[in-house]
Symmetry: D4
Subunit: 213 residues, 8 copies
């Protein structure tokens, strides 16, 4: 658990046996491990190898192990543009919660109906987050729009939702990288783990300053 | 002048002499010709070859010839996201006006400060346009946002304004092509002529229906 | 149903359960919903969740719900270059008909045998459409050719039919974006919904002008 | 002069001195040399180094040396879509003539006004060419259209004329590679030398068969 | 059968039923039809729909129908770099034979062991072909090498054999397009039909000249 | 000055007159304005238009106006891999200082001599920054390496330094986006303004928490 | 076995029957054959065709045949960044051992925890290899880092491990090609065979010099 | 001078003053410095700053400083496909000679006239090099061909010579990466320094083994 970041095992490119073996090994010293984007075969191998271990789903990830991390006082807000962005955003939020951060998320706040944004933004302002994650596929415009309306740093999380030219997430990430709203930084397409860890580091830096106060 | 579309000469890939010669030839039978995106050399050659012809600048185009086309009653609204989009948008508007269409445009309505959009949209609604052109570079999100808020067809006009990866207009056009707002269609990067002609065809179709009334 | 555009649910990136749930929810307030590009699993889930709802196929879409929208008087013509373009073009036409537009389409009018184009164009002129959709894969040249021969706006609808380099629709969309025929605008590869909605907005603008007459 | 192909020196990537030196060396054993795409500096260096040698311009090439090759009886037809394609097409024709082939070319036969094609095609049929070169930029559709209407092999010659996405010749070459008209093969963007040499080899193969008759 | 080119039905993008239906319809007026790149489902549907029709395999194509076309006297030579190129090259040869051309092919003549090239080239020279097709994947260098050694036109046929960056046929086609050997033209990746038809048109032009003799 | 972010005018895509005019207008209400990446022409126009205004250089930016912003207590550390990264990193630091943040930077800490990293990292730990910016071109690996060694959030700032394939900053930004070190987020190539603003928002969030203490 | 390189049969693009047939044919004259990246179908066909032949797995390859090559005295060191790189690196090592080279490899030495590198490097220095292979996916930085720390030539072996933009090995190979550490050369993504053969040629050149001593 | 690699200063991305300053600083402790790819401005600044220092040209590099490195006994052979490849190959050879290696090079050995290869290869075999560098632009096939004919490791050095699609060196490097000849590894486009250093490390490893003998 470097930097408070939880142990994450990426299922892609690993056999079910490798994935299960690595998870089991890590659970010897860590209380919980996140298995990111497992296929059904990976999940089956993990359940077989760790029959006693509680397993929760968090978007496209599984959280292996019991208990909860202590709360740090960090606060993370989140928005997603559509239903298809949920599995990746939920992974991000799970990683952040494993780092002790409290989260508040609103879904389905698309840029094509910009008025739908007012209410979630209002409630997020009451929550007073230290950082926001905004997930979007397609043209990936929501993070820019939001970053132009808030005063905290925003992490853009592009998702591989889209169609035709650029529809594998390329349009979304390019759009976020082209933002004209300073204050927005970006992780790779579908990188929920990276978004969650970065946002939690930001929130926890602020939280520990609050505690010292 | 096919379809009412004015004669357009593209300067790119032509020598100054070729460009001037083609313009002169077309002016034998057409009242006005649009020279799109001339370099200073092209402009000099045209002025030398056509010393009597009035020449007006319209964004990155020159309009050669005198007079004005008759008004058709078509109405075209336009928005641009930033100052850098003006030369291309102005070319589009000039083409549309050559097709007899009345235009109303607002500039510098960027997506990073979405509140700036309310006033121009309000005044455009009063104008009751048959079609909108929305020009944007960078992440090219403005056309999607606008298309989600209006009930007329929108032409997205991506411009080659941007930076880094995708900054040559690629991010902008991909973003517009990925739009989740049905009702938006797109022309190529910096294609002011195409945007103006398409929008004017749409407006003139509606206008001639109004006249028949 | 913003702007008269029907409710569309994109199956891609959604689980069968999500897709069925969203469709069911929308049908509470809308008479019909279009489910775009469902896999067999999606269709099965929808049929299970909505056993009473009539379901019609329209190209690669399903139309859920009964009845027909009132006719607006808008007219849309359509051409496709080959058999492979039909599922996407039919989706576009279904969306337009849901917006009250009358449609007339001709299929298999390829650019490699340009003479085959004469008869359909002749009959389309008699129909007097407000707008044309031209669908093509491969080199995507048909929309340019057609746009050079008609006087109404044309929506180019590239399809992901092709082979080798550029064969995923990239060559087709680039070809349409490079058109030398002003009056052609483009939607993304296989975006039947966008083509249909844009064309119907254009047609309905003209139709309502005709009615006011 | 392998295969009857004339000596060609590509100016790109060579200093003026290198280019002039190589041309001079080749002229020791060859009657004529083609210098492809020289910049003004290259041309100056060549003229200085070879003050006695007659130099003719052929599109974007220079032909150095005197005399004409003997006629083989091969016949090559050619079409270009626009003015901007001429420098490259003229280079192709010069290479073919250096290989003894008779040429007949028509310019400015764009795909956006397909009716303009009838007259040139008619006259080309009278000429009875062994092969056609069709040069086009933008969407590069003309070679496909032509190949669908004639019964001889067609060489597609894409040029770097275009705008926005794909406008460096990428759209044109992809379009030609996607052709649905069997009988069309392609050379690289602006490769006039390759197009001319290939077409002349085809024509000369037929011509020598005619002679044997 | 335009230009003597046989009827070809591309299976890709068509349902088995569509493919079978189109084949059956074409066989009403044509003696034979080529079905290119069918999946097992396509083949099954065709066999079910046409139980009486003889079906032969030719590389990745099926030839439906009986009999043989009359010989024209045209001669086509062919080389492939490796075993993986065979299905596509055999399709090309089948198309050419359907156009009456005699063929002679040598396989597995890779560029990494350039000495293996001598014997096949020797025997091809005895055959005296009017044209060569050279198929290669990977770096696609064989067509350039061969074109530098023979005096007839060469059609480069890139195949989608390769690995890593550029391994989908991109490296192969780019390599052929970059050739420094004038006399080589190219068709798209895996486009056996195009290569065969183009080569046969070239051969038949020469053959008919020989006959006139 | 939204969110405390200073007014930034991007010179690219603007004429010298436009740039100078916008700067002058902004200076009516803002104390200082940053002109990013001006060409010599832009700088001359600004100096002519604002003869009284103090102008300082900060990397590839100019800071127009007098005075300094009040210190917030936020702390930003920075590292660059090489000399070529300095103009962009210095722009980032200038933006952050305009937002009241204290900065400490070390240059020329390349990944090819990883031992050179120890000393700067040691001194940065003493400084106890709230956030780090790490600028790198070429393969862009330094931000990942650093992010694996520190416990604060890192902003990766890719620069357009490099050579050959990917050398325009593409390799650098892809490398940063592929990082296996959670806690790294990225801005676009050469986007010093975005990196500085994001880092300062992070630092100022922590600083204001410290103040509340 | 050219250059001492073992016979390698690439399974991709071959049918199981073709692969088995080629292996069987080669085993007539070679003692062992490497079958690279077989699918289960390929393996089954090979086992059926060669029931007597011993078959060992070596990463993603199979080694068919018995015995071991004689040792040359060449020494090859190897490092991989993660578990996912093992199948490709093990293929490389198997190829090198088939060429008589002794190997020593360390796995899971990622760049995000650079301290983990010290111990393996120390032990590799004791081994005194003639060459190193360093395999990495993601951002592919490990080879650059290692090459900056050792004094023997390094072969960078990028793997197709990664996510989002550039995650198919593109980011990894571009990163290695951009290296600022002279002494690093690269093979294509997942090209274990090429990496092993190149490294073994280097090692064997040194080994034969040592023997002559 | 890490690993015996000479100090190299890359002019790109540096101001003339920066380049000159870094060279001067390095010359305090190193006898010679290589300045890679200087523009005329860089060269002028260096000559002004170091009026006493002998300066030699080596391809596109300058060698600053006097004397010669001691010979190691390593031997490097080299081939280039064309005149345009010389500046980059000469840079590679200069770097290798700075590392004490003896070099023997042949130029203009193109793949389109494969017979020209025999004589240089013969003389290189007599020289008995430890390693070969093969430079080529265009389709980049020469390194593969050569690697198939020799038994030492080959470094492929792609150059940015070419035309049309892939002509910036992309086709050349992809071709080398796709090689079917094991034993070839690659550096980035125009990376003469990397090719020379890698080749010299290989040669010196063999040379020091010979010395120990
Ligand atoms: N109104 C919207 N504005 C912007 N993006 C949207 C909107 N609705 C959906 N999306 C994006 O479109 C993709 C599909 O959305 P959904 O169909 O809700 O799963 C997601 O990646 C969303 O980010
Ligand atoms: N004659 C043609 N001209 C242009 N495009 C065609 C032609 N025939 C087919 N196509 C295109 O080729 C693809 C396959 O056509 P089909 O085989 O008829 O489904 C479709 O995307 C068509 O757009
Ligand atoms: N710490 C690391 N530094 C660099 N690359 C890594 C690191 N860990 C894993 N990787 C790469 O990430 C990919 C997945 O690693 P693994 O999850 O261990 O299979 C592999 O391609 C590794 O090269
Ligand atoms: N015969 C040839 N075979 C392969 N490549 C060649 C050949 N001739 C020239 N080239 C390449 O073409 C480019 C231009 O060559 P040159 O015109 O000789 O400078 C160089 O990058 C060479 O690598
Ligand atoms: Mg979005
Ligand atoms: Mg914008
Ligand atoms: Mg088409
Ligand atoms: Mg054209
Ligand atoms: Mg090959
Ligand atoms: Mg770096
Ligand atoms: Mg790595
Ligand atoms: Mg070459």
């Amino acid at each position: 658990a470097r930097k408070g970041v939880p142990e994450v095992v990426y299922a892609r490119g690993k056999s079910p046996e490798q994935a299960a073996g690595i998870c089991a090994a890590l659970l010897e010293s860590a209380e919980r491990v996140i298995l990111s984007a497992p296929e059904p075969d990976h999940e089956a191998a993990v359940r077989a190898a760790l029959p006693e271990t509680p397993i929760r789903r968090a978007g496209r990830s599984l959280i292996l192990g019991k208990g909860e991390p202590p709360r740090t006082g960090g606060r993370l807000g989140a928005l997603s543009a559509g239903t298809s962005d949920l599995p990746v955003l939920d992974e991000a939020l799970a990683v952040a919660r494993e780092m002790g951060v409290e989260t508040l998320a609103f879904n389905d706040v698309g840029v094509a109906g910009i008025h739908r944004l007012a209410e979630p933004l209002h409630r997020l302002r009451d929550f007073d987050p230290d950082c926001l994650i905004v997930a979007a596929g397609m043209e990936g415009a929501l993070p820019s729009v939001v970053s132009g309306l808030v005063s905290v740093p925003v992490i853009g999380l592009p998702t591989s939702t889209g169609y035709g030219l650029g529809g594998d997430g390329t349009a979304a990430i390019l759009g976020m990288l082209q933002t004209c709203s300073p204050g927005l930084s970006v992780v790779n397409v579908d990188n929920g783990v990276g978004a969650g860890a970065t946002a939690a580091l930001i929130a926890n830096r602020a939280a520990s300053a609050r505690k010292l106060a």
